[in-house]
């Protein structure tokens, strides 16, 4: 299969991605990226994070615009609910990453997508974060993602599509596997 013969249009520039893979394999230092966000406490449990710049391709890069994310807790936690909870934003990151993967892999495999919707759920017992039960972890017990895909492809092909999307997902790896993390005072 060559790209030019591919009539599928999912809005993903596969040529560019394949080109990047080739170029970055030849210049691995350019493949080192650092992603950043900065967070400022507002009031109570409300904070606002911004995402603007990142490092990659051997240089400082900028998003087209600065993105803002309000993070808070809901009113049932005696908070003001000025934004999604941090754990919901993790879910947003995971499902967004998988969906981007679905579109990219579909493009590459010549699968025309008509619609892709996904629901993601994370189960959590908050006795963990409340410190009320040492046997319960703070984080999710389990995360479930369910994709509904309308496309010109068999069910098996679509299953293979979401499997490949997991294989290439950064956030899936972040959530499923340990990451070194250090929190310190500036």
């Amino acid at each position: 299969m060559t790209i030019t013969d591919n009539p599928v249009e999912n809005g993903v520039n596969v040529t560019a991605l394949l080109g990047a893979r080739e170029a970055l394999s030849a210049a691995p230092e350019a493949a080192e990226f650092t992603w950043r966000a900065s967070c400022t406490w507002q009031n109570g449990t409300h904070s606002r994070s911004t995402v603007a710049g990142f490092t990659g391709l051997g240089a400082e890069q900028q998003h087209r615009v600065t993105y803002e994310f309000d993070v808070d807790h809901p009113e049932c936690f005696a908070s003001e609910d000025n934004g999604a909870t941090p754990v919901e934003i993790v879910l947003v990151g995971l499902v967004g990453c998988l969906t981007a993967g679905v579109a990219s892999v579909a493009q590459f495999r010549g699968i025309q997508l008509r619609s892709v919707t996904a629901t993601i759920e994370g189960q959590m017992n908050v006795l963990g974060i409340l410190g009320a039960d040492p046997d319960i972890r703070n984080g999710f017990d389990a995360i479930t993602v369910r994709f509904a895909i309308d496309a010109d492809a068999s069910r098996e092909d679509l299953q293979a599509l979401i499997a490949q999307a997991q294989k290439r997902s950064a956030v899936f790896d972040v959530v499923a596997n340990p990451t070194k993390i250090l929190v310190e005072l500036a």
Binding site: G131, A132, D133, P134, D135, N177, P178, T179, K180, I181, L182, V183, E184
Partner: protein
């Protein structure tokens, strides 16, 4: 058979309670499934020594009188000391008498023990906090060729196959066994989660001297901010050795032991370790230094600075930046996994609805909630932070015997 009180378990707590009941002329019997100090005879590895120095191993009516007050008793000496103590206090121990069931009865409690049925107006549960190993659910995912065992079954490294050993848990048991097993020529990887770092000695005194002198051990259960956390805190990274060695993670790293993060999942035979190891260690260092600050402030306020060596701080825990996050348990490198992940009490024979939804007995400083006349002893931070250690039984049994006595008197009226 009818008796006023029954004590279940002839370990240090049960024997101390027997002494308290005798002091108050309360007719009682101590039921023991084996012999006095049974778990110390059968479930402790021989090189295990008490974490507390000999001078602190005080029980009601008995202080340490040996010639090594700063030493640490090995398991066999604990057995001997408790056997002597049982004789000293003339404890009415019925050995080889396993309690099968404890139920509420019209006049108190009904205890099925051995072939007998006993009736008592009060019962004291003193079977200890370390009856069963606490093994995490991830144990089910350890691939079969790997041998697994717990500290209760461990005797010496010779019982383990040759090859690498993954010790899971870095509290008192974990750090001691990691060192002992590594020195036997079996390379040890130690999975470290939240832990309590303490030096064996500080400014020339044992750390337990400081914990006692500063009043920390005397902190009462109803004055501790987060009692749940205090009761579930892992035991401190201390070992009792003749040389009073510090056994922190730096010591183990120097020995050649590989330190990794908390064991998370085992997927397809591959163990995954938390990436938060450096953070976890930094927190333990911080906590240790906060206690040393408190100790120094106390020493100054007590006018002891001239009598003690000057304050100092210990090197931060070293964490290798290349610490692996994964270990393939199918590669043959690891032949044994040792679960040093803590212990649980065993009150499975208790047939009275006094448990919370987690199966823990609800109690207020050892006075069991919802079952007048029923008492609990020998649990971590039962009444004070000292309750976790042998000498804590002195004050705990004094308080509970007093409560029990009042309970009996109020019933008589």
């Amino acid at each position: 058979m009818q008796t006023t009180a029954v004590v279940v378990g002839a370990g240090h707590a049960g024997l101390a309670m027997s002494r308290r009941l005798t002091e108050r002329s309360i007719d009682h019997v101590v039921l023991e499934r084996g012999e006095v100090a049974h778990s110390w005879r059968t479930q402790r590895w021989p090189t295990l020594r008490l974490l507390t120095p000999n001078w602190q191993t005080r029980l009601p009516g008995h202080d340490y009188i040996g010639d090594d007050p700063d030493g640490f008793m090995p398991a066999a000496d604990v057995v001997a000391a408790l056997t002597d103590y049982a004789r000293l206090v003339d404890a009415p121990v019925r050995t080889a008498t396993t309690v099968h069931a404890l139920r509420a009865a019209p006049q108190g409690f009904e205890i099925r023990a051995g072939d007998d049925l006993l009736h008592a107006r009060a019962v004291v549960l003193a079977t200890g906090a370390c009856a069963r190993p606490a093994i995490p659910a991830v144990a089910d995912a350890i691939p079969p060729p790997v041998t697994t065992l717990t500290p209760l079954a461990y005797r010496d490294p010779g019982q383990l196959p040759a090859g690498g050993v993954l010790v899971v848990g870095a509290s008192a048991s974990g750090v001691q066994l990691a060192g002992e097993i590594h020195r036997s020529g079996r390379p040890v990887t130690l999975a470290v989660g939240e832990h309590v770092r303490l030096p064996r000695t500080y400014r020339g005194r044992d750390i337990f001297w400081w914990l006692e002198a500063t009043g920390l051990l005397a902190e009462r259960y109803d004055e501790i901010d987060d009692l749940t956390r205090a009761r579930h805190l892992p035991s401190p990274q201390l070992t009792g050795t003749p040389e009073a060695m510090t056994t922190d993670l730096n010591t183990l790293t120097t020995l050649g032991i590989r330190i990794v993060g908390r064991l998370g999942l085992v997927t397809d035979g591959v163990a995954q370790f938390s990436g938060a190891l450096a953070n976890t260690c930094a927190l333990a260092d911080l906590k240790m230094n906060r206690f040393l600050n408190r100790a120094d402030e106390w020493a100054t306020a007590s006018g002891l600075d001239d009598d003690l060596p000057p304050p100092h701080r210990f090197a931060p825990t070293r964490v290798d930046p290349h610490t692996p996050l994964e270990l393939d348990l199918t590669s043959g490198e690891i032949t044994t996994v040792l679960w040093a992940t803590g212990f649980r009490p065993d009150h499975s024979w208790l047939d009275i609805p006094v448990r919370d939804r987690k199966g823990h007995i609800r109690h207020d400083g050892g006075v069991v909630t919802g079952a007048p006349g029923l008492y609990l002893l020998g649990m971590p931070v039962l009444r004070t932070r000292a309750s976790t250690y042998i000498h804590g039984a002195a004050a705990d049994t004094a308080a509970l015997a007093c409560h029990l006595h009042s309970f009996l008197s109020s019933r008589r009226r």
